[in-house]
């Protein structure tokens, strides 16, 4: 599970702003936000954590389905 919504809300940032800052298209970031992504590159993860000032564990959570 990707907790991007909560982090964006806490940081008062929109998805569009974050997409511009990390260098991803809005479409790809939306895929990540909605949990439809199959994989995330380390570079993408690092860029998101840098912009949101968080740790990977703040962004990703494992849920047993």
């Amino acid at each position: 599970m990707v907790k991007l919504d909560d982090l964006l809300h806490d940081r008062r940032m929109t998805l569009t702003e974050l997409a511009e800052r990390v260098g991803l298209t809005l479409a790809n970031l939306s895929i990540l936000k909605t949990g439809k992504a199959k994989a995330i590159r380390f570079t993408t993860l690092a860029a998101i954590c840098r912009e949101l000032n968080c740790q990977p564990g703040d962004l990703l959570e494992y849920q047993d389905k």
Binding site: L24, N28, L29, I31, L32, K36, A37, K38, A39, I40, R41, T44
Partner: protein, 178 residues
């Protein structure tokens, strides 16, 4: 790469137009054969005397109209196989132009092309063997050998099909990676 890029890529354009043109030619020849074969079978010998002269000049016995007809049918089969081969190639080229060369269906298309080419080579060999059996002239050479180059292309196509299958699997893995 979009449909627009198909128009901008000269190689793809040439390939696409070439395959369409060749398919048109094969269709035309096929229609001629469809009309000619029954005519040859039922025609009065005097009406096909000139044709028989040409064929006997090539060293084939014209006693049996069935021989001429069977070689014609084999030619038809080869035409159909080659037309289907070119259709697969055309679809492959179009998919590259659409920016989707590693779609799983392209691996299937390449495998089909390999089988079609192999089938056409086998059919041509059979046709040449029939002509050789009915040869009346020692100078006439109808020995049907399998073309090494043709077999090499068949193997190459099967290998390419495998490559594209792996490419499609890798693309599938990457899809959804952000």
């Amino acid at each position: 790469m979009t449909e627009q890029n198909l128009k901008n890529d000269a190689l793809l354009q040439i390939g696409r137009i070439g395959t369409i043109a060749l398919r048109g030619l094969l269709w035309f020849v096929g229609i001629v054969l469809i009309l000619a074969i029954p005519y040859i079978i039922v025609a009065d010998p005097s009406e096909v005397a000139e044709l028989q002269l040409q064929i006997s000049g090539a060293g084939i016995s014209t006693d049996a109209k069935l021989v001429i007809a069977s070689v014609g049918v084999i030619a038809m089969i080869i035409l159909v196989l080659l037309e289907r081969f070119l259709l697969q190639l055309q679809r492959l080229i179009e998919s590259v132009g659409q920016g989707d060369p590693f779609a799983p269906i392209n691996a299937d298309r390449l495998a089909r092309m390999a089988w079609l080419l192999l089938a056409s080579q086998i059919t041509a060999f059979i046709g040449m063997s029939i002509a050789a059996y009915h040869a009346i002239s020692e100078e006439a050479d109808f020995t049907g050998d399998f073309s090494i180059e043709g077999l090499f292309i068949v193997v190459l196509l099967f290998i390419l099909a495998r490559v594209f299958k792996h490419g499609a699997a890798m693309r599938d893995d990457l899809e959804g990676t952000v």
